[in-house]
Amino acid sequence: MSDNKNDVLTHPTRRQVMGQTLGLMALRASGVVFSGVPGFSQALAAGEKSIKGQLIISFSQEPTVFNPHMPHIEVDDGIHFSLFDPLFYVDPEGKFVAALAAEVPTVENGGISADGLTWKVKLREGVKWHDGAPFTAEDVKATFELLVNPDFRSWRKTGHDLIRDLKVVSPTEITWRMEKAFAPYPSILASTFITPKHLMSASADPNNAPFNNAPVGTGPFKWVERVAGDHITLEANADYFAEGPYVERLIYKYIPDLNVMYTQFKAGDIDVLGLQWITPDHYEEAKDLPGMTVSVVPAATVESFSFNMDRPQFKDPAVREALYAAIDKAAIIDALYYGLPAPTETYMPQQSFYYNPDLPKQAYDIDKAKELLDTAGWAPGPDGIRAKDGVKLAFTCSTTAGNHIREQVQQYIQQSFKDLGVEMSISNLPPAVMWGEYWMMSKFDTVIVGLNFLTGSDPDTSDYFRSTSIPAKGGAGQNTWQYANPEVDALLAKGGEVFVPEERKAAYAKVQEIMRKDLPFLPLFQYATVQGNKQGIEGINPNVNTRINTWNVGMWRRA
C-alpha cells in the first residue's frame, strides 16, 4: 500500500528548483501542480463567498509570537497560517502550491535558471494587506532582507543568507541570485511567510515593532485581539485572494490542560481540537462520541531513545544494539500508547517519498541482548551491573518532566534494562532546562525525545547527522548525539547536490540504513495524534508536512 501511495507523495521539490535536464524530466513525470491555489478558480466563478458562523479551536499551549520570523513554537505556526501567506506552500501530498506567487517558480516556466542559481518570481496581482495597502514585490524584498538583518532576531537565516542581488523588477516581479545551489531552499520558502514592508519598516527596532503584537498579513483571517492567557480572536478577510474564508470569526482558545480540553470538547464547547489534541488513553471513548469526528493522524515526529555517543558506555555498538533488543516496543505502543503510533526503524516519516521500508525490524529479545553484551565482554559485576574495562553500564535517562506517558515508558524501559544488568537512573528536567544546554551541548547520557528531522517535506538532515554539526564540538547544527560517520557525511553532501528525486532517494535510503545499523538513537515510533472536530465542519485536511492542523484554516467551513 505504502509503495503506491509514496509515488503520489513524491516530494520532487528540489529538482524543480535546481532544474537540471534530468530534473526537468522527473518534474514532468511527477506532475507538479503549477496552477494557483486549488479551488481558486471555482471560488471566483461562484462570484461571492458565503461567510458564516464562527469556529472555536483549542490549543494546549498559548500562541504568543505573531511575527512569523521570530523564534516561535508550533501553536504560533497555527496563527501564522491564518494571518499570512508564503510565496507558495506545501500540500499534504508534498507538492508546492502557489500562494502569493502567481505560479510556483520552476525551470520549466522560467522561474529558476537551469543551474538553479537565478530566481525570478512572478507575484499575484491585486492582493491587498489587511490594512488595505497593496501587496507588492517590495514586501517580498523587505521580508528577505529582514530575515538576514543582523539586528533582527530571525529564527532562521538558513538559505536566505545565500540570496544576492535581490531586485524588484516590477511590483509583481522579483529576482535574485543564489550564492550557491541549496537543495532545501524551496521547502524553506514554503514556510516563510511574507510580511508587510510598510509596517515592518515603520519601527526602528524590528524586534519591538508594534506589528509583532498587532500583525497584518494577506491571509484568510485578520487580527482582532488577543486576551493574554486566554484566547485570540481573528475575523474573516472577505477580500482574501484565494479560496475561503468561510467563517466569520476564529477563536483560538488556550486551554492548558488536556483533560479539561477533552472534557470541553465532549461537552461541545470546542469546534476543532488543536495541538495537543486528545491523549491516547481517551481514544477508545472519543472515537464513539456522538456528533464528533475523531481520527488518528500521523505526524512527522519520531520518538527516539537517544544516546550521547561521547559517553564511554555507548561507544561500543554492541551496547546500543543490546539495549535496542531489550526494549519491548510492542508493549510500549500497545499498552502505554493504546496502539496508536506506528513502530518505526528510522527517523524518516513513513509518508515521505524518501522513507526506506526495507530496514531490519527490531524484535524484543532479552536473551539476545544478554548474549550480545556477554560476547562483547560486558560481564555482570558483584552488584549485578555489567561492566567492561572499568566502565559500568550505568547511566541516566532524561526527558521533559511532566510528560506522563513518556515517564511511564521510561520506567518500563528501566525495568527491562535492569533485567539485562544495566542500571538506568531517571533524571527528568523541566522543559526550559532539558532543551537548553543540557540537550544542545550534549550534557546528557541518554534522552527520550520526539524530533521532526525534516524541514517541511525536504529529506535533508545535515544539521542533525553531519559530523560538523555537533554543538558540543563547536559545530553549528543539532547533532547532539555527537554522531560522526564519514560515510553519512558524504551521503548527506551528495543528497544536497543531486536533484533527481530517485537519486536523492537512494542516498537518503542509504543514510537510513546506516543509521539503523549504527543506532546513535533507538527509533521507537512515529507519532500519531488523535484529532477531533464536531461533525459538520468541512475542509479539515491534516498535512504531515506542517506542524499544525490549522495550516488550511481558510478552507474550513460549516456545512
Binding site: T279, L336, H404, Q408, Q411, Y412, Q415, I426, L429, P430
Partner: protein, 297 residues
C-alpha cells in the same frame, strides 16, 4: 553576683523526671495530641513494616495489571498506570516522605535557631541585617523559591530535603529571635556576661534552653509543612523523581486519570492528610503543654 552557678529558668526543674513532668501530663490530657501521636505511630509502623507484609515489590511493573481498582486480588489499594501495586508504593513512599519531612525539620530548625539566636542576642546592626534577610526570604512565595531551587539542583531525596529546609527556616528564626530578645536583658544573662562567658556559651547554655519550647512546637509544625511542601513540589513534577515513590509524586499524573482511576489520587492524598494532621495535632498539644505563646503563625 559572684556565685558560679547561675539559676536559669530552664534548668530549674531538671531534678524531676521528665515522665512525671507537668508538661507531659498536660500533653497527655490534650486528646487531639494523643490521637495525633497514635496516628503517626500507626503510619510509621505501616511504612516500616508494611512493605514486608505485601506480596508485591513497589517497583515491579506489570502492564497486564494496569489500573486495577482497589481490592483486586491482593492489590488492596489497586494498581497504577504501570500495573505497580499502590499499597507497596504507598508504604515505601511514606518512608521517603516522612524522612524528608523529618530531616527538613531538623535542618530548618537548626538554621532558623542559629540565625534567630545570633540576631536576637547580638541585636543592633547584625540583628537588623539578619532579620531583614529573613523578611526578604519571607517576601517570596515559598513555592517559588522551591520551584526555582528545584530547577537548579538535580532532584534527589537529599536535595529536596535541603531545598525544603532552605525555604522553611525563616519562621523559626523569627520566633527564636523574638524569644531571645525578650530574655536577653534578664539577670542571668547579664550575670553570665559579667562573668566573662564567651558569647557562644551564653547563646547555647543560657539562652537556647529558654527558647526550647517554642522551637519544639515550631519544629513539629515544620514537619507537617515539609510533608506538604514535598507533596506540592513532587505534584508539580519538580520533586522526588520516579521510580522512587513519594506521596507527592504518586499524585503527579493522578489528575490525568481522575476519571477512570480515582484511587490514584485518593489513596496518597489521604495518607498525606493523615500525616500532616497528626503533626499539627501534636504541635497544638505541645504548644498547650509547654504553654508557649499561642499566636504562632
Amino acid at each position: 553576683m559572684s556565685s558560679v552557678t547561675i539559676p536559669s529558668p530552664a534548668t530549674a526543674s531538671e531534678e524531676t523526671h521528665w515522665w512525671k513532668s507537668r508538661t507531659l501530663r498536660r500533653f497527655m490530657r490534650h486528646r487531639l495530641a494523643v490521637i495525633g501521636v497514635a496516628m503517626i505511630t500507626i503510619l510509621v509502623l505501616s511504612c516500616v513494616f508494611g512493605p514486608y507484609l505485601l506480596p508485591y515489590d513497589e517497583l515491579f511493573i506489570d502492564l497486564r495489571a494496569r489500573f486495577a481498582p482497589p481490592l483486586t486480588g491482593y492489590h488492596i489499594f489497586g494498581t497504577d498506570p504501570l500495573g505497580r501495586d499502590i499499597a507497596a508504593r504507598l508504604f515505601n513512599a511514606g518512608r521517603i516522605s516522612l524522612l524528608v519531612g523529618f530531616f527538613a525539620m531538623l535542618m530548618s530548625t537548626a538554621l532558623g535557631t542559629l540565625i534567630g539566636i545570633i540576631a536576637g542576642y547580638r541585636g543592633g546592626l547584625t540583628g537588623a541585617i539578619l532579620m531583614r534577610i529573613v523578611d526578604a526570604f519571607l517576601s517570596f512565595p515559598s513555592i517559588f523559591l522551591l520551584l526555582a531551587l528545584a530547577a537548579f539542583i538535580k532532584p534527589s531525596p537529599f536535595m529536596i530535603t535541603v531545598i525544603i529546609a532552605l525555604t522553611s527556616w525563616m519562621e523559626v528564626a523569627r520566633i527564636v529571635n523574638a524569644e531571645i530578645r525578650s530574655i536577653r536583658e534578664r539577670d542571668f544573662v547579664l550575670a553570665a556576661r559579667s562573668l566573662g562567658y564567651r558569647n557562644s556559651t551564653i547563646m547555647l547554655k543560657e539562652l537556647l534552653p529558654n527558647a526550647i519550647g517554642p522551637i519544639i512546637v515550631a519544629g513539629t509544625l515544620t514537619v507537617a509543612r515539609a510533608i506538604l511542601l514535598e507533596a506540592y513540589v513532587s505534584f508539580l513534577g519538580y520533586g522526588i523523581q520516579p521510580p522512587l515513590p513519594s506521596w507527592g509524586n504518586m499524585l503527579n499524573g493522578a489528575q490525568q486519570y481522575l476519571d477512570r482511576a480515582p484511587w490514584l489520587a485518593i489513596v496518597p492524598g489521604v495518607a498525606i492528610t493523615l500525616a500532616v494532621t497528626s503533626f499539627n495535632f501534636i504541635g497544638d498539644g505541645l504548644r498547650d503543654a509547654l504553654d508557649a505563646r499561642s499566636d504562632l503563625e
